[in-house]
Amino acid sequence: MFVCGAVSPLWAQSRKAAVAPRKPPAPPKRPQANPAKELDRFAKMSPEDRENALSKLPPQRRAAVEQRLAHYQTLTPEQQEKFKQRLEMMQSLPKDRQDAVRQKIQELRALPPAERRKGLTGDDLKQNFSPDEQTLVREAFPGMKNLD
């Protein structure tokens, strides 16, 4: 009796698992467009279309996007081109290395100037980052370039 009582829920569970429908496969992800072109397209959109696109984001993220976009639009075409080149260099890196570069820049930005300078010239950057990655990090701090 006890054995039957103990075993039957297990049997039922395993049976249920066998019968339960499979989770439908995730829809195929849209192939990533060129980020710089996508940004330009977004920047040139009509206010109505941009509003439609932005409405998909929560308010805080939307505000950040709007603020950054406003700043991007104040750049000269040359400055925008320079950014696109850096972005292209960043995109050429594997995903984990992109994250490492982002993290390193944010770490250095949080430091006081003297320590930031040390970090930019120190062995840690040279040993753990490729020359392209080092360029990306150093170009984020143009004031420190000459001290390298």
């Binding site: 849209r30 990533q32 467009a33 980020p35 710089a36 996508e38 940004l39 397209r41 977004f42 959109m45 009509s46 109505e48 279309d49 941009r50 439609n52 696109a53 932005l54 998909k56 984001l57 805080q60 993220r61 505000a63 950040a64 996007v65 603020q67 950054r68 976009l69 700043h71 991007y72 750049l75 400055q79 950014f83 850096r86 972005l87 960043m90 982002r102 820049i105 944010q106 990306l136 170009e139 984020a140 701090f141 143009p142 004031g143």
Partner: protein, 162 residues
């Protein structure tokens, strides 16, 4: 014979006599009466004078643009008499030639149909706008702008980001 001036229904006899339309017997009978009745004699004389005058009158020549000048004069007098909007309405609702009102509605219906078609053609345009907005990967744009924030030195990070 009864005197035609006393009875209205016999007045035609007098006019027909002057126009020489009466039958010979009636004419003889009326002429006997005329000799005795000064009223009828006076009327016949007057009527004969009118007929003689009409016969003597010859109408003047009519100019070629008589009709045009006549209608222009009528229009000018109407314009003085009534405001333009009233004349316009009168032309629609009281045309000189009978004109069915439904004919005026035809251009109006055609205009409405064109407007409806134009609106229905324009509707997909707004759908296209939405599709265009959908085609932008907003998350990718967000990521690119974050990279812009990180990689571009002069940019101050917005509050709450990173």
């Amino acid at each position: 014979m009864n005197c035609p001036t006393k009875r209205n229904e016999d007045a035609e006899i007098l006019l027909d006599y002057c126009a020489r339309k009466l039958a010979p017997l009636q004419t003889a009978e009326f002429e006997i009466h005329l000799k005795q009745c000064p009223d009828c004699s006076r009327l016949v004389e007057a009527q004969k004078e009118v007929l003689a005058a009409l016969k003597a009158w010859t109408p003047g020549p009519v100019s070629a643009d008589f009709d045009a000048r006549l209608y222009a004069r009528i229009a000018a007098e109407e314009a003085q008499a009534a405001p333009a909007w009233r004349l316009w309405l009168r032309r629609i609702f009281q045309p000189p030639v009978p004109y069915p009102l439904w004919k005026s509605a035809v251009p109006l219906i055609a205009a409405c149909a064109v407007l409806a078609v134009a609106l229905s053609v324009r509707m997909p345009d707004s759908v296209d706008h939405r599709l265009r907005a959908d085609k932008v990967d907003i998350e990718q744009v967000e990521q690119t702008l974050e990279d812009f924030d990180i990689l571009t030195p002069a940019v101050q990070a917005p509050a709450g980001s990173m």
